[in-house]
């Protein structure tokens, strides 16, 4: 039978799966009735408000074991990670730098690897984190970077393009609820600057080629 869930801002399939009592996002994402959506969005972590996600009924799983013995059942949960790559101006990775990552209420001390990458396992449904870099050589040292997990929209949507451009240091406008028109020039200049830096035709239009590059450079 199943049901349809309408995606709201900040949701991602793993979080939705947990909400409905599924241990893995795959049960939902790989379901035939989500094939269209899956083809369109590709990444179950970057879905869009308004998307209709089909939630199948939970099926019973039967396992046979001998009575009179102890058996161990391990629930396999899908690992969800927060993975960030930190870079200084002009693609220089912020390598081997100590950072502090506060995920909801817990604080973790991490160090970026040689490529500036850090990753942390997070619980499905996690929404916020705060990152502080402790590398005195970079301008983003000690600055608190609030992180909203799940708020990244697909790259074929303007807010998704804006968010990626912002993350990559091409400030494309604030998310302040004001109409898109107000910061149109700023968004346009950010797209052009990105295109110029990455060898694309500079036309200010975030078309398929630009989107693909944006997704590739940003990481998702």
């Amino acid at each position: 039978m199943g049901t349809y869930h309408t995606v709201v801002q900040g949701e991602y399939v793993s979080g939705i799966a947990k909400k409905y009592g599924f241990s893995s996002y795959k049960k939902i994402w790989d379901h035939a009735q989500n094939a269209e959506l899956k083809k369109q969005r590709q990444n179950p972590n970057v879905i869009f408000p308004g998307d209709q996600l089909f939630i199948p009924d939970k099926s019973e799983k039967k396992e046979s074991r001998n009575t009179g013995q102890r058996h161990q059942f391990v629930l396999k949960t899908e690992k969800l990670k927060l993975r960030l790559v930190l870079e200084d101006l002009y693609e220089k990775p912020i390598a081997n730098a100590p950072c502090e990552l506060r995920v909801e209420n817990e604080t973790f001390r991490l160090t970026t690897d040689g490529q500036g990458k850090i990753e942390k396992d997070i619980k499905a449904g996690t929404r916020t984190a705060v990152l502080t870099i402790k590398d005195p050589q970079t301008p983003i040292n000690k600055i608190l970077i609030p992180i909203k997990i799940g708020d990244l929209d697909p790259v074929d949507k303007t807010p998704g393009q804006k968010a990626r451009l912002n993350n990559l240091g091409y400030f494309a406008g604030p998310f302040d609820g004001k109409p898109e028109e107000e910061n149109k020039a700023l968004f346009l200049s950010a797209v052009e600057e990105f295109q110029c830096d990455h060898g694309l035709a500079v036309d200010g239009k975030c078309g398929p080629a630009t989107q693909a590059k944006l997704k590739q450079v940003h990481g998702c």
Binding site: K81, P136, L186, G219
Partner: protein, 472 residues
């Protein structure tokens, strides 16, 4: 409506402007979690914090010779650098800090061709860079390699000799005379000028003496105080000329036609003066650029690198259109998108509109540069923090200028030396119709103790200051 407060963020003098950029609200990162190999890249951005502008009047006409009157603007630059210290100052603080690097941009007016203007604007940028770093060898290059009408020669030496040998009073008197009747400044001993013309060593000493007197000991920077750290011998990322690509004023087609037909070019040159400027941008602490990756070509290179960074409609932006256009109003006069993005929020290039809430704090309590005032409303998700170094110093008080947020209850807290103090709770911002009532202030336990901070608030800087007690 008159908004004088905007002027408080800028120091304006006859020959230029010094200002801090409006503080951007904290931007967070929107990311996607990963079930596979996805990742999210967060990259530092190049963000200017402050700007300084030197007008054409401070240079000899069509030349890179810096006039003595620039002393005023250079004093303001020193003040600006107190607020946003470069490495040479910042490393002296306890604990040592990274510095805010500088980069110099020279601009020409649209008269003449792109290449000529690229060189001239580059020479002006070089002259300013050399001045504040005392790199006399760069002035020697400008002197011994004239370009077009930019010939240093005897007149530069005369001007410098005159200034170096005169007293403060004499100089200002002379300047007054010059301004009044357009006469040439009093000529120094011609033999002395010739000596300096022939002897490079003497010249170097003169340049240095002139630079010292112009800047004062306070304003003396090092190569490493600039964005490129002096790593590139051509000054890439430290100073550059933008040719005529970024005018602040573009004539209408009609005006341009009239000017072109007029044999006397004085009115045109005068109307164009605001375009011939030198801008210094001061960037976020710790910013550093590998010169090879900096998009701007060197000051002595051609325009190809500039054109790569034009807006897709850059040529259209450069053309005279049916109306006169000012960057201040239309923001579409710059052809170089890279420079446009850097300077868009610069109070030196345009009047930043938008009213501010002024939170005024008494200086007597010895607030340090890193102490902060925070205006916050959790209910409407507004939070803005401004450090003393970004406040406007108006003598007895420090004015913190906040961009007003939506209607709601606001709190003001001060962080002084690591301790947080509430200044106000349940504050309503202007336009709310609720005003600021003394009865709504939060008073601390020691009401008979003398109040340590005097704070006033509102849009009118002349509003009476309100006294209150801080409670932690």
């Amino acid at each position: 409506m008159n908004t004088p407060h905007n002027d408080l963020t800028r120091l304006v003098s006859d020959g230029g402007t010094a200002a801090s950029h409006p503080v951007l609200q904290e931007q967070g990162a929107f990311v996607g979690p990963a079930t596979g190999s996805e990742f999210n890249t967060i990259k530092a951005a190049i963000i200017p914090l402050a700007c300084w502008r030197l007008e054409d009047v401070r240079f000899e006409f069509d030349s890179s010779i810096v006039r003595p009157e620039s002393k005023t603007e250079l004093k303001n630059l020193a003040k600006l650098l107190d607020r946003h210290p470069p490495l040479s100052k910042a490393e002296k603080s306890q604990p040592p800090e990274l510095g805010c690097p500088l980069s110099v941009f020279g601009h020409a007016d649209p008269t003449g061709n792109d290449d000529y203007n690229k060189q001239l604007s580059g020479r002006r940028a070089k002259a300013i860079y050399a001045l504040i770093t005392r790199r006399t060898e760069l002035w020697e290059e400008l002197f011994s390699q004239p370009f077009g009408n930019d010939k240093w020669g005897r007149r530069a030496l005369e001007m410098m000799l005159d200034f170096v040998s005169s007293s403060e009073e004499e100089t200002s008197q002379k300047n007054l005379t010059t301004a009044e009747n357009g006469a040439q400044p009093v000529k120094a001993n011609q033999e002395l000028v010739t000596k300096h013309e022939r002897d490079a060593g003497k010249r170097k000493a003169l340049f240095l003496g002139y630079m010292e007197k112009l800047c004062g000991p306070e304003l003396r920077l090092r190569k490493t105080d600039f964005l490129g750290h002096g790593d590139d011998s051509g000054g890439k990322a430290d100073f550059q000329g933008c040719s005529e690509f970024n005018p602040v004023l573009i004539f209408s087609q009609e005006q341009q036609k009239k000017f072109d037909q007029d044999k006397d070019k004085t009115p045109r040159n005068s109307a164009n003066a605001s375009n011939r400027r030198v801008m210094v941008l001061i960037f976020r602490k710790g910013s550093r650029v590998a010169p090879a990756k900096w998009p701007c070509p060197r000051a002595n290179e051609g325009v190809a690198g500039c054109i790569k960074r034009f807006w897709s409609d850059g040529e259209k932006r450069r053309k005279n259109q049916d109306k006169e256009r000012e960057f201040n109003k239309t923001q579409d006069t710059f052809a170089c998108r890279f420079y446009d993005r850097l300077s868009n929020n610069s109070p030196c290039e345009r009047r930043i509109t938008g009213e501010h809430w002024i939170i005024r704090v008494d200086k007597k309590q010895g607030l340090k540069l890193e102490d902060t005032v925070t205006l916050e409303s959790k209910a409407v998700s507004y939070r803005s923090k401004i450090a003393v170094r970004n406040a406007v110093d108006i003598g007895e008080f420090l004015d913190f200028l906040f961009v007003p947020g939506p209607k709601g209850h606001y709190t003001i807290t001060l962080m002084v030396g690591g301790t947080s103090y509430f200044a106000w709770r349940n504050l309503h911002l202007p336009g709310d119709g609720q005003g600021v009532e003394p009865s709504k202030f939060d008073y601390g336990p020691n009401q008979d103790h003398p109040n340590p901070y005097v704070v006033s608030s509102g849009r009118d800087p002349n509003a009476p200051a309100v006294t209150f007690n801080l409670c932690s």
